[in-house]
């Protein structure tokens, strides 16, 4: 198939179809609405359906119910909409169900604005809902990576029976880039073969999917089960990318999503000025590349670690936790939909190097 030019939001919709996920529940919100617009005609073509819910609260609960059937289900939304889904996300995690959630982030807090932001890191990574649960959180930096990660997200959700959230700043949803899809379209998974999905009790014992455990021991057992699952995820699912990381780097930038691409431009230009800077781009924000951040940060020549985000500083708290005071960790960012420019990144680095 020839490469096509697609808007991130459309490509995310097509990637779900490629992953065999044809059950979609959503409510439109800028800058994510094109996913729903695309899927409202695309899903019927492949025998699927888009249910536009009355609100994001309803979307969350529809996902909970639909995921119980073992079919691949997903939603897409933007920051305030994801806030409304948090109760259901906690239930879904507690009930060990696979669901894929996409947050095309806009500026907040509150109704905020519609321009790109990365200020939902805490919400995604630190648990936006209540209780002892985690999400697998993945952050693409290009439209192609959004497609690849979307397909991966369904696999991970089923492998670990857990909700997976993809967070992309508004740019990921709104920009157009060239993109390719896997040649072979996947068949939907078969719930009949699973040992947990609610497929009708004919010929077998009833299965129960719930997140309510009144007996404290039963509830603790469920929390321990979740915790063991998250331990396995931390051991096996760390993903990140390095760019121009060498022994000569004086600064290590850590940035995710499209922010990392802005940093790459700055790094290329600084290189031509004789200043060596490397970039680490976490792709999995949970599990966070903890050991890898530490290992890269403590390397000999690194004078400072610089975290750059479209927020007032959220991921930087995880960076400081991982670096454990071995190197100074600095922060630079913008909010409200203002995107840091390569020039600002360069200026910040020059300021840090004195």
């Amino acid at each position: 198939m020839a490469k096509k030019l697609m808007k991130g939001n459309e490509a995310i919709g097509e990637a779900a179809v490629a992953a065999g996920a044809i059950n979609y529940f959503a409510y439109p919100i800028t800058p994510q609405s094109e996913v729903a617009e695309y899927l409202c005609w695309r899903l019927p073509e492949v025998g699927g359906a888009f249910v536009q819910a009355e609100s994001e609260v309803a979307v969350g609960n529809m996902l909970f119910g639909a995921a119980s059937t073992g079919k691949r289900v997903f939603t897409t939304s933007s920051s305030p909409g994801i806030s409304l889904m948090q109760e259901a996300i906690s239930y879904i995690a507690g009930a060990h169900l696979p669901v894929v959630l996409v947050n095309i982030m806009r500026g907040g807090p509150g109704l905020g604005g519609i321009l790109p932001a990365q200020s939902d890191y805490f919400q995604a990574v630190k648990g936006g809902g209540h209780g002892d649960y985690r999400l697998i959180v993945l952050a693409p930096s290009s439209v192609q990576e959004a497609v690849d990660i979307m397909i991966l997200a369904f696999d991970l959700a089923e492998k670990y029976l857990t909700p997976v959230m993809i967070i992309g700043d508004g740019m990921i949803g709104q920009m157009m880039e060239s993109v390719e899809f896997p040649e072979k379209y996947r068949k939907d998974n078969d719930p009949e073969k699973s040992d947990w999905a609610l497929t009708g009790t004919e010929g077998r014992k009833a299965r129960i999917i719930k997140s309510l455990f009144l007996d404290p021991q039963e509830l603790e057992d469920n929390c321990i089960l979740l915790d063991e699952k998250y331990k396995k995820i931390r051991e096996n699912e760390v993903r990140y990318e390095l760019y121009k990381v060498t022994d000569k780097n004086r600064i290590l930038i850590i940035a995710y999503g499209t922010m990392a691409r802005i940093c790459q431009t700055a790094i290329d230009e600084l290189e031509s000025e004789g200043i060596s800077v490397g970039l680490m781009r976490p792709i999995s924000l949970y599990p966070f590349p903890e050991k890898e951040v530490y290992a890269e940060a403590v390397k000999g020549n690194i004078e400072k670690v610089l975290t750059i985000e479209m927020s007032t500083g959220q991921m930087v708290e995880d960076i400081r936790r991982c670096v454990m005071g071995k190197k100074p960790v600095e922060f630079f960012g913008h909010t409200g939909g203002i995107v840091p420019t390569p020039i600002e990144v360069k200026d910040k680095i020059k300021e840090l190097l004195g």
Partner: protein, 237 residues
């Protein structure tokens, strides 16, 4: 480079030029580049109307300062309203359409939905003095074949309540555009032209791609373009 092609620049004497097409066809880049070209070559005042009420990012209003410095008048919401998640249609738009002089380029939103706002204004247009040009990009999933293009054109015409007067071949993959993509788009536009009877008014492409091509095979005017809708990691050269 541009000089070598200049004899083949697009020419139309119509006052209103509406640039219409699917999402990602390149309407905004064409509108901005065409406005710059007309402003540089004509005495009349060139105005550009950002009528994209459906796309939240990458709209011609983002280059308002650059265009105004070239003497091009920009009609688009300003300040905070420029970023509002609201379909704002300024009263100046109708005024500009009703005027009788000056060139007017309309950068319309994508697809039939994006054309709706324009459709609410087309009864004020002098039907003897307009062009409505369909921008075709063969690398977009819905317009990679003549039938797909014609289907979307029919929907857009209904939404615009106005007939197309011509086609623009603008096949592109943004920075990954090469000669093969441009030629593929030219061939597609020719086929759509044969099926609809519409003329290929011009072909547009990035000037650096055009300069490396043998353009003598392209039997239509050519608009070389410089990208103005840049992503934050792409710096102006």
């Amino acid at each position: 480079m541009a000089d070598a092609l200049s004899v083949r620049y697009p020419s139309t004497s119509k006052r209103i030029i509406a640039i219409v097409g699917g999402f990602g066809s390149g309407k905004t880049e064409i509108s901005v580049n065409l406005a710059k070209y007309l402003a540089a070559t004509e005495k009349s005042i060139v105005s550009i109307i950002d009528l994209d009420l459906v796309n939240p990012y990458f709209r011609s209003r983002e280059v308002v300062d650059e265009l105004e410095a070239l003497g091009i008048k920009m009609i688009a919401p300003r300040g905070g309203q420029s970023y509002a998640d609201l379909p704002i249609l300024l009263p100046e738009v109708k005024g500009a359409l009703e005027q009788r002089d000056g060139r007017l380029i309309l950068d319309i939103g994508g697809d039939a939905q994006g054309t709706k706002a324009f459709g609410s204004l087309t009864d004020t247009i002098d039907i003897s003095d307009y062009e409505m040009l369909m921008v075709l990009n063969s690398r977009r999933p819905q317009t990679d074949n003549p039938d797909g293009c014609i289907k979307i054109m029919e929907r857009i015409e209904l939404s615009a309540r106005l007939k197309f007067t011509g086609l623009i071949a603008n096949s592109h993959m943004i920075d990954e555009t090469d000669e093969a993509v441009v030629i593929e788009g030219y061939n597609l536009a020719r086929k759509v032209g044969e099926a609809t009877g519409l003329p290929l008014v011009f072909l547009s492409a990035k000037s650096d791609v055009l300069s490396g091509m043998d353009t003598s095979l392209l039997e239509c005017p050519i608009l070389p373009m410089t990208r103005s809708m840049l992503k934050p990691w792409e710096e102006k050269k």
